[in-house]
Amino acid sequence: MAEYSALSLLKNAFSGNRDWKPAWRKPDPKPSYDVIIVGGGGHGLSTAYYLAKEHGITNVAVLEKGWLGSGNVGRNTTAVRSNYLLPQNIRFYEHSMKMWENLSHDLNYNVMFSQRGVLNIAHTPAQLDDFARRGNAMRHLGADAHLMTPAEMARRVPGLDVSKSARFPIYGGLMQERAGTARHDAVAWGYARGADRRGVDLLENCEVQGFIKDGDRVVGVNTSRGEIRAKKVAVAVAGSTGHVMRMAGVERMPIESHTLQAFVSESLKPFLDTVVTFGMGHFYMSQSDKGGLVYGGDIEGYNSYAQRGNLPIVEEVMSEMLALFPSLAPVRVLRSWGGVCDMSMDGSPIITTGPLPGMYLNCGWCYGGFKATPASGWCFAHTIAKDQPHHFNAPFTLDRFHRGAVIDDKGQGATPRLH
């Protein structure tokens, strides 16, 4: 059953780890497929997996310009949660949460999903009221949430400054116990292996350079590995959405690409067994199984495809960390990196048919796409297979902006840097 059992680890250790088999094939592109998925990140791979598993569509290729998991699925801070306010978002992300709860079994691959809880910290009475409202909205639709007092939070989160003299005194918090973290690379690898075994071709180093059209209809792509045709072409390229859609002839999208940075500290003894988020700025932190603190903050706030950020955000994130945990001041940062986020105009995603005939689109994940990986692929596969959305993703259309049906969880308006 388990391919990486203790016995196989031991056996391979004694043979110098020379006998491990690759987890997926490296096929050459076929001239045509039933479905092409552009983008071999978490969402593209899970889409391929569910196309094969749920809909029996296995003549599928996933096209990745780099190597699998080289984009945001390997760059995020691994948090998984469904603590939204609006019903469309709660239903979708709660569906995702339920899929996470069974994902390791489903993939027969340990994604190390750890339901260690996500705690949103409130620093004013009004913010705590707002959290109570959001918690009620979540519970109303079947997600879990409960409020915590500062005393309870101090017991749960050692080192958290709950004193009255804190830079931003803490009034309470909203906890989602079923939320947590997952090993992001394992998610990519598990979906990749699962899709490959069902016959999906994973084509790495295969960059899409243009779309082949028959009239308006998209019938294939030109790639760095030649021309590939398909009945259906699905695009799941996150931060590269604007760039890729322009190649298909769609000039403008309700998307801006922004860089988000993330940080890992040196390893510390385990002290933080939950994910905490700051309420007076944008900051979130968890502790990895290796002991490093994994944390991040706001996006850079200006258009960028650079996969690297600038120093003002670094300084801001560190100061936010110290506002919550003054005792972490001597801890050294081990490394930092950036990823390109597809910021939508209302902070919610797009999973839809179109916008061109023969095309399907999955984008707009802002900086929250990782937790959506299972449900995003599941809903996108349904949309591709049936040519219509599942009711979970039916609200996440591309034309909702022009119809006035935006899903703006934070009520920030069409200002991507504020979502």
Binding site: E256, N303, Y305, H402, R417
Partner: protein, 100 residues
Amino acid sequence: MLITCPYCGPRDVSEYTYQGDGNRARPDAGSTDNQAWNSYVYDRLNIAGEHHEIWQHSGGCRAHLAVSRNTLTHKVSAVAFARDAGHRKSDRHRKSGGAA
């Protein structure tokens, strides 16, 4: 990232506020063309490469600037006052509408 303000010289990005995509055309205030307004509010070119955008030197002289910046490298190639670069001034609307 440094942006060279025409008044103040090269200053750190933290002194500036990003006002967004400079490629958008605001419809005339009297326009009732829904498509044009929707497009102005929601649709973006989102260029991977040389990008025209508006910044305000909010931590300095407060001038609105039209900046050309490469979104792949963050290199700033040109900075001009937004009013000189042909961008519509919003002051007139703001004054009539009170504090903005």
